[in-house]
Symmetry: D2
Subunit: 304 residues, 4 copies
């Protein structure tokens, strides 16, 4: 294997021509203004070393990647009880579909589709009183960057364009699968999605999933079993209805967001983050997927 | 870790009380006659060592596990072209559902649901002239057991109760996604499902997936990339609509059959086979799933 | 044919044993308190004569029957433009399903399922500024009873248990198929459903559909063509997913509500109302359906 | 009203410009060869008078219109028992969809979608030993034309392109909802669809539905109740998933076929047939629908 820093720089060069494929998410104005030319990649090794290339230190909206951290927090407080309210199966339908939710009587297929994430946020709200704040706290602590914060403009914009999520939250409520008022759950959810981070901070903050649950400070945040299980759910459900493609091409647990970021985990070894704002038809970063594909090919670090 | 032989014997003891949970597949008479008390487990290490316990040398009907081998054969001949006719996404619906197939205009969601397996068998028929025979040939070669064979009674029984598969094959044909006559594809498919093997033979025969594609004779059967990708598809799609649960609890690529067998792969390390005829609601062996869960817990051999 | 009054009295006797079949709607408390023993029937002839039997002068919650009048009002103002925002096809799925709405990109299948009725109410709100008030106005005028009113307790109760309708309204809004704020549309909708009327008032108020659009005062409220078309939509879509059964057994255009009322029209001849609070699995009054079946059998007044 | 003959001639002129809208069914070659310029219309009055215009005496393939006659025959032999094997609800999905069939466990939504028609034909096969022959016999008798026959080329062509129907028949068989072998049911079905008739013969043959069940010879073929009920099912289910549109615009019970024919009934008054080979997106004749719309507008003969 080449030197890891060279690998990352090679990947930045490799994906540059792809950055304009797909389209930047435009359903909220502030996301639509990002240049599709941006691209960053970062690898945080389990031992603490960090490598980065491209725009790896420029903050972006983490969006659905926040769902990994809300799930981890709920599991840290509450071990297993969340699985009575949300399943762990791939959805087989587009990420914002309500069909599955209705067919399954209000039990979302997994915690990484919007419906499932709303249930997890609802639980976190009950447990902490401030779901988005507790996620931000975790991200600050694990990244070591106390400046990690919620972008209030993005959060407000999400709320203004949030009929789809409001519809889903009311549907969950109609099945009795929300503990808190719909408005409060939605506010918390829009806030957690609007957290801004750069690739570096996000890679550091995700490292506990590569270290069998051990937090930045060296103490267990999750048990090895819990960490293993979050990775399993990321692999089968982390990239909307392209989870099969992602496993086939990348071969790592991963979670994407419509801000163009993706986090991937090589268990026992490292956390990788990529960021490219332009999205393919499944809502995943085109350049980001290509970068991770190239990364596993060049390093041989696949779980398969 | 304990001695591997002891692990397997401990597992046999551990799952014995579960053997009557669920129900033996009864849609064809010859499957329904098997005692639910049977249970076998076998581990074939990448270096050739083999460990087994329980009824690990008693043959059973491999059923859908044959789909792994038909896919591997097609990929060995034809690299990547099969993916134009079948996707690689989890199905999100029961294993025999026709809904998805219709919604996706005749392109099955993955090669491990029946519709996808029919397409793979159709391709193998075109490539070899004898799909079931070529699968049997591969299994004999890789297991080292020239007695591996098709149970003609089971194959005839599948055909007699095959309206569902016939319906699916005609639907595929109506979309132009079969190259051969429906009757020939069905006959080949019923034959490959009726192959009988014991845990030991099946573990040996699956070992190429743990050895990055290297066959029993030491030569490459598949490229490392192909082997990796079959493992990825097994993880996301190998256990019908319980793939998420399987990844969560077992954390290994695996493929099950309604005969009660399951093959699982620890890439780079070993192939594991379990056999327990009584099935849970998703069509997977109850004792087999429990045994693999216990196995990964005791050995720590998970990919996550 | 027997004397019409005798027919109605015979029907009251005939359906009495059925009044406890099914179950009274209980999703809002005030509906659940009604005695299932209640039963009323009324026939208003095109020439003004009125016949009634049983509890035909006792008010009940008209619920979804209000959808006929909101549609008529919108068509009276706006002729045909509503059909760009709602289809006229039977739904083929339960009345509160969101699946169809999603598959059809926010265009409800017909104006008599909840999603379609929300769109009609939204349009009426734009046209009149007070959707429920304008429906009440129409019902007062046509029934000749200025005391017809909204039951505020029922309306508030609908709102308290309205997550399902809120979910649908937000989903419509996400597709851009609402002109007014979600909250205002829902408030209007809950109010119109909470209008209380007796069989007699409701039969009189529905008579314009039996008189080719001519209102109580003798002037055209709708054109003959519009009246004909509302009857057509009632026949194909008026009784949720039991429209086929209703056409088969009753053979008249009809619209039911979960309060247990049903309005049916014999074009050119009469309007019939029945009321029996206990509902069958499709949300239609058990005694009401049986009464209408008996009515068309005894009178021979079917459109087929 | 104008003279009926003039009405029909006016309609032929009116629809001429529409004859090239849509597309002639081309899934079997012999259907695709028909000129889209063809158009015929015929009205057979209950008293025996017949009016026609355009190509009203040119035979065409009746296709799905045959489903009305197979249903009538089964009901004539067997009164009501067929309804245990097929429902009477509009399908809400395209006419050849298998989704509904699967969701409803092998019970087709109605006798006029292909799945339901296969069940009816299966029953007729059990009752008569020759389903297509008995339908032909009925059509000869009622039309008074002993030359009405099956077009063997079309029937063979249907069989050659019949994977979709074969798929459906096997699916029905898998649910135990066929009494006869799949191949025999399919052969009978392909034959009945391939019957050729002109508008005049078809209007005469349909007249029993306008005469409350009374056959050409003056004796009852069906009871008034049965006749009424077939008309009800035609109205709600006769034009695939455009039944709502048809009721809205035409306002009569009707049944269409992909050969471009439509039969409509004015109960108590007449049977109307139209034929125009070019089909709209729902599989109904474009010119035929327009002609019936015009017919009910000019005559005022609507059931609403």
């Amino acid at each position: 294997m080449e030197d890891l820093q060279e690998v990352l720089e090679g990947i930045v060069e490799h994906v540059a021509p792809l950055c304009r494929d797909g389209a930047v998410a435009s359903y909220i104005p502030s996301l639509g203004e990002i240049s599709p030319e941006k691209f960053g990649i970062c690898v945080a090794m389990a031992d603490g070393e960090v490598y980065g290339a491209g725009d790896w230190q420029e903050p972006f909206s983490i969006q659905s990647i926040s769902k990994v951290f809300s799930l981890a927090l709920v599991m840290s407080y509450d071990y297993d009880s969340i699985w009575q309210r949300v399943s762990r199966e791939p959805s087989g339908t587009p990420f914002n579909s309500m069909i599955q939710l209705e067919a399954d009587q209000g039990i979302p297929r997994n915690p990484f589709i919007n419906a499932g994430a709303l249930v997890v946020t609802d639980r976190l709200l009950s447990l902490t009183g401030d779901a988005a704040g507790s996620i931000r706290g975790l991200l600050r602590l694990e990244s070591g960057n106390p400046a990690v914060d919620i972008d209030a403009v993005v959060a407000a914009s999400e709320a203004d364009h949030g009929h789809r999520n409001a519809s889903m939250a009311h549907l969950l409520a109609s099945y009795g699968n929300l503990e808190n008022p719909v408005d409060e759950v939605l506010a918390a959810y829009f806030n957690q999605c609007a957290i801004e981070m750069c690739c570096e901070d996000l890679a550091r903050a995700s490292l506990f999933l590569a270290r069998h649950g051990v937090a930045a400070g060296g103490t267990p945040f999750l048990s090895p079993n819990q960490s293993k299980r979050i990775n399993a759910v990321m692999l089968t459900c982390g990239t909307y209805d392209a989870a099969g493609e992602f496993a086939y091409h990348v071969g790592l647990p991963g979670k994407s967001g419509v801000g163009g970021g993706i986090v991937a985990i090589v268990p026992g070894r490292c956390a990788i983050t990529v960021w490219g704002p332009s999205l393919g038809p499944n809502g995943n970063s085109v350049a980001g997927i290509a970068a991770l594909d190239e990364f596993t090919t060049r390093t041989g670090w696949s779980i398969f």
